[in-house]
């Protein structure tokens, strides 16, 4: 029952992300390169979560659990790596918005764009590490 709940929750999250993507696509043609980056990140999140959900649904149909001690360890390790990456990402973005914008005449990132990147990119980093550890082990 608990496993089924987590699968349905995952499907719900995926549907929400798809709805978000449709909203972004509706605004197509008016976006800057940074907004396009956000669409790419959202798309990667959808693909990643969909792969996980499909795998979990298959496991459930076979009567296998979707969670065990290894997957929890993998999730924790991927989460800690994503957290550290987010910290460095925040430093790099701050550096970009001060040093690079001033010295290389690059466009300044707005607060919305910074928040968008800082929220979405760690999700993609998390999924990347999740798949790496799920393939190679912890």
């Amino acid at each position: 029952m608990k496993d089924k709940t987590s699968v349905f929750l995952g499907i719900g999250i995926t549907v929400l992300i798809i709805a978000l993507l449709i909203t972004f696509i509706a605004k197509a043609g008016q976006q800057s390169i940074y907004e396009n980056l956000l669409y790419i990140l959202v798309t990667l999140l959808i693909i990643g979560t969909s792969i996980i959900m499909i795998k979990r649904t298959k496991d459930l149909k076979k009567g296998l659990p979707v969670k065990d001690e290894l997957i929890i360890k993998i999730a924790h390790k991927a989460g800690s790596y994503a957290y550290m990456s987010t910290m460095w990402l925040a430093v790099i973005l701050l550096w970009y918005n001060t040093y690079f914008v001033d010295n290389f005449n690059l466009p300044l990132l707005s607060t919305e764009q910074l928040i968008g990147i800082i929220v979405l990119l760690p999700g993609v980093i998390y999924l990347t590490f999740f798949f790496i550890f799920n393939k190679k082990g912890v």
Binding site: D59, K62, G63, L64, V66, D68, E69, L70, I71, G137
Partner: protein
């Protein structure tokens, strides 16, 4: 650490999926255990040993060198 999971699983005519179901883990966890790429918790080691009707000492071969 090496394991004899594959050998004992074959002796009991169990597939990785069958063993995973018996133990209550994902099939990938059994794959990692067989390859010796994952050090299981004592509880999981006990469950796998029980499913294969053996003891933890028989199932897992530890290297003294670290």
């Amino acid at each position: 650490m090496r394991t004899r999971i594959k050998e004992l699983r074959a002796r009991h005519n169990l597939t990785q999926e069958d063993l995973a179901k018996k133990v209550g883990v994902r099939r990938e966890t059994i794959v990692f255990l067989e390859k010796g790429k994952y050090n299981p918790s004592l509880q999981l080691a006990h469950d796998v040993a029980k499913a294969l009707k053996t003891s933890i000492e028989e199932l897992f071969i530890f290297n003294d060198k670290r």
